[in-house]
């Protein structure tokens, strides 16, 4: 049944993009819908594109696991748009460039900075795509039992069709539709879930105890895990426990460590404490409910998260490219203002799922797949055909989230890749003809395929981490590289190409290193872990300091066109500047 919902969303998305509107013919159609999208519809599209798997599944999952501190994700994702509105929206639109590398080159007249920015766009885009695809894998397995690699392949295939068929214009329509699908899919079930919760006596997690099963629950473990059991409990196991093969046999699960094998089903009685992965005890109810008490160094972590989300939003490749689809700077601001409303409405919902998930799907703490809580709740709490239907709606919304964010990101990565390839080719063969312009669209589509395939391969080999965590890292990279470039580029006359390049390399490089260490290296504790997984609080100041410092040292290299660029960025369109 849920497979049908997934198929429907994928099919609708693909059909919309192939037949919905005439396919993009010119290069500008491919990039930015020829800048002919109304502010309101553009805002829906931005909402659709921005609300990714991290927002739809990830926040609820993190709240389930860590509690109140994770509420800041939703706040940061919304507030980032206010910062973007205030400092960047209108000037960025007026810059007239298509992508951040375009902006960098136009503002600083430097090919070098352009290339560094292009590399960063591609890396941030792929880092952001990775959890979307893995989230799709988890969703498809949760609802249909398909293998983990199926989800990424399905999403990548649909994204390639979407992107290759029409570029930004068709993507705009599809994404506007997907915003409303996501909001509806999360908002309608919430009403029923809350009613069921009230009917259950409106419980709240037990303050003094670890999470426990409210009803007898069968947990399916797909990948072998080592768990720690606090109190001995009688369970029924079908599969492997430690070294024994069991076939629906009752066993006493003694206190201490156990290994539960692949594809094992464990049935827990009501009231049993949830075993947890070794070394990762979930916080007790009171620590979970309270802010600043579930994790290591929570005050630093909270501020670092806020900095990353507030400043990172403006640097996300798929967010920036959307601003060029507005007809002018004023429209860019109106769009952003509407987006704030759309996001504020949406982010009220995930915490409800997170809190209910803590009560009704605590087994996810044992399997570590907390991102699945949104999908499981209707069936767990309501059951029956109603629960199944709402579950289908939620699954459809989840796929809308994967598809819209993934196609937006793929578009922007493809745009930048295509531009760089184009320049490389143009530099070798000289002038271009109209015939070659047609070839350019074809090359852009090829770049789209490449941009979609690399993260798909990565998603199959990289170890899975909570969706919102990885997305948080992508925000941190963007905040430490593009945020200083955009802010200083728009508001400071003293920025030099050398300063910009040094700042991008220092901030972007440092955060990308922490990403590599956290994703590949062994887990760490204490400060090392917090500084690596939440780098923004030190990397953003570092990037700003390097960018400003080097610019001041190379003051003689301030580009001669700086005043002209700033004039263009800040003059409202209503003022007709005479030609020089």
């Amino acid at each position: 049944m849920s497979a049908a919902a997934v198929a429907l969303v994928c099919l609708a998305t693909a059909l919309f993009s192939v037949y919905g509107l005439r396919p993009g013919k010119a290069t500008s159609d491919f990039y930015v819908a020829s800048r002919a999208v109304s502010p309101t519809r553009n805002a829906y599209a931005i909402g659709g594109e921005y609300l990714s798997a991290a927002s739809y599944l990830g926040i609820a999952g993190l709240i389930l696991a860590f509690g109140a501190d994770m509420l800041w994700y939703g706040v940061g994702y919304t507030a980032g748009y206010l910062v973007l509105l205030a400092f960047v929206a209108a000037p960025l639109r007026r810059s007239g460039a298509y992508t951040v590398p375009d902006f960098a080159e136009a503002r600083l007249q430097s090919r070098k900075v352009r290339r560094i920015a292009a590399v960063l766009v591609v890396l941030i885009g792929w880092l952001y795509l990775l959890p979307q695809l893995q989230g799709a894998g988890l969703t498809l397995r949760t609802v249909t039992g398909a293998p983990l690699w199926a989800g990424p392949l399905v999403v990548t295939a649909v994204v390639i069709i979407t992107v290759a068929s029409g570029g930004m214009r068709s993507v705009t329509l599809v994404q506007a539709f997907q915003y409303w699908l996501k909001l509806t899919a999360l908002a309608v079930p919430v009403l029923f879930l809350l009613l069921a919760w009230r009917a259950d006596g409106a419980p709240w997690p037990d303050a003094a105890a670890p999470p426990s099963f409210r009803a007898a629950t069968t947990v399916t473990v797909h990948q072998a895990i080592n768990v720690e059991v606090r109190d001995p409990v009688r369970v029924t196991i079908d599969g492997t426990l430690d070294t024994a093969r069991l076939h629906d046999d009752p066993v006493l699960l003694t206190a201490g460590e156990h290994r539960i094998g692949d594809e094992t089903r464990v049935r827990f009685p009501a009231g049993a404490h949830v075993p947890h992965p070794v070394g990762e005890p979930p916080p007790h109810g009171s620590d979970w409910t309270r802010p600043l008490s579930g994790t290591d160094h929570p005050v630093y972590a909270t501020y670092a998260l806020l900095i990353a989300t507030l400043l990172g939003t403006m640097g996300l490749p798929h967010v920036i490219v959307r601003f060029y689809t507005n007809p002018d700077g004023g429209a860019a601001r109106r769009t952003t203002w509407t987006v704030l409303w759309l996001l504020a409405a949406f982010y009220l919902l995930p915490p409800v799922y997170g809190a209910l998930g803590r009560l009704y799907t605590p087994e996810l703490l044992m399997t570590g797949r907390t991102d699945a809580t949104v999908l499981l709740l209707p069936d767990r709490l309501l059951g029956g055909p109603g629960g199944t239907l709402l579950g289908m709606l939620l699954t459809a919304g989840a796929f809308a989230a994967f598809l819209s964010t993934a196609s937006g990101l793929t578009m922007s990565v493809a745009g930048v890749l295509g531009q760089e390839l184009e320049r490389y080719r143009a530099a070798r063969t000289g002038r271009r003809t109209s015939d070659e312009a047609r070839g350019e669209v074809r090359r852009l589509r090829m770049a789209g395929v490449a941009a979609a395939c690399v993260p798909c391969l990565l998603s199959l080999v990289v170890v899975e981490r909570p969706v919102a965590d990885v997305v948080g890292l992508a925000f941190a990279v963007a905040a430490s590289s593009f945020c200083p470039l955009l802010l200083l580029g728009i508001w400071w006359r003293g920025l030099t190409p050398h300063g910009a390049a040094a700042g991008l390399l220092a901030g972007g490089g440092a955060t990308l290193c922490t990403v590599a260490v956290t994703m590949i290296g062994p887990p760490k504790d204490g400060w090392a872990q917090v500084l690596l997984t939440r780098p923004a609080a030190w990397s953003v100041p570092l990037a700003f300091a390097v960018m400003i410092g080097v610019s001041l040292l190379t003051r003689r290299h301030v580009p001669p066109g700086t005043a002209q660029s700033l004039l263009r960025l800040h003059t409202p369109e209503s003022v007709q500047l005479p030609r020089r």
Partner: protein, 128 residues
């Protein structure tokens, strides 16, 4: 040694600036100066950038204060961490719901005020 050129620096919105007939090199509208990037045009551009930047800074500053003060308050007053209202913990209401209206109000203030800044600028530079 060449004599330093005398430049008159005036606030762009004052009457003195608008009426200053002999200001070289353009005797026409400020837009001409802006487009040709004369020192006078630059003064106008700087003034627009300054007003917009101050506005943005005020809005984002208020936002940072409103959000940034919350974790510190929770840290300073542990009793607040455990407080509940209507069965829901107060920190959840504050961070999950109450901050959103603040963000929306700030967005509205910015949107309105930035348009006003730009209108003022356009009026000033297009005055014949």
């Amino acid at each position: 040694m060449p004599r330093p050129v005398r430049t008159t620096v005036v606030h762009p919105r004052t009457l003195a600036a608008r009426n200053a007939q002999p200001l070289p090199p353009s005797a026409g509208r400020i837009v001409e100066d802006l487009g040709r990037q004369t020192p006078l045009g630059d003064v106008y551009l700087r003034s627009l950038m300054r007003s917009q930047f101050r506005l943005a800074l005020a809005v984002v500053g208020t936002l940072s204060l409103a959000l940034g003060v919350l974790p510190l308050t929770f840290q300073a007053f542990p009793a607040l961490r455990d407080a509940t209202a209507a069965g829901i913990p107060v920190p959840w209401i504050l961070t999950g719901v109450a901050v959103h209206p603040v963000i929306l109000v700030l967005g509205w203030v910015y949107h309105r005020q930035s348009r006003k800044n730009e209108r003022d600028f356009a009026e000033a530079v297009e005055r014949p």
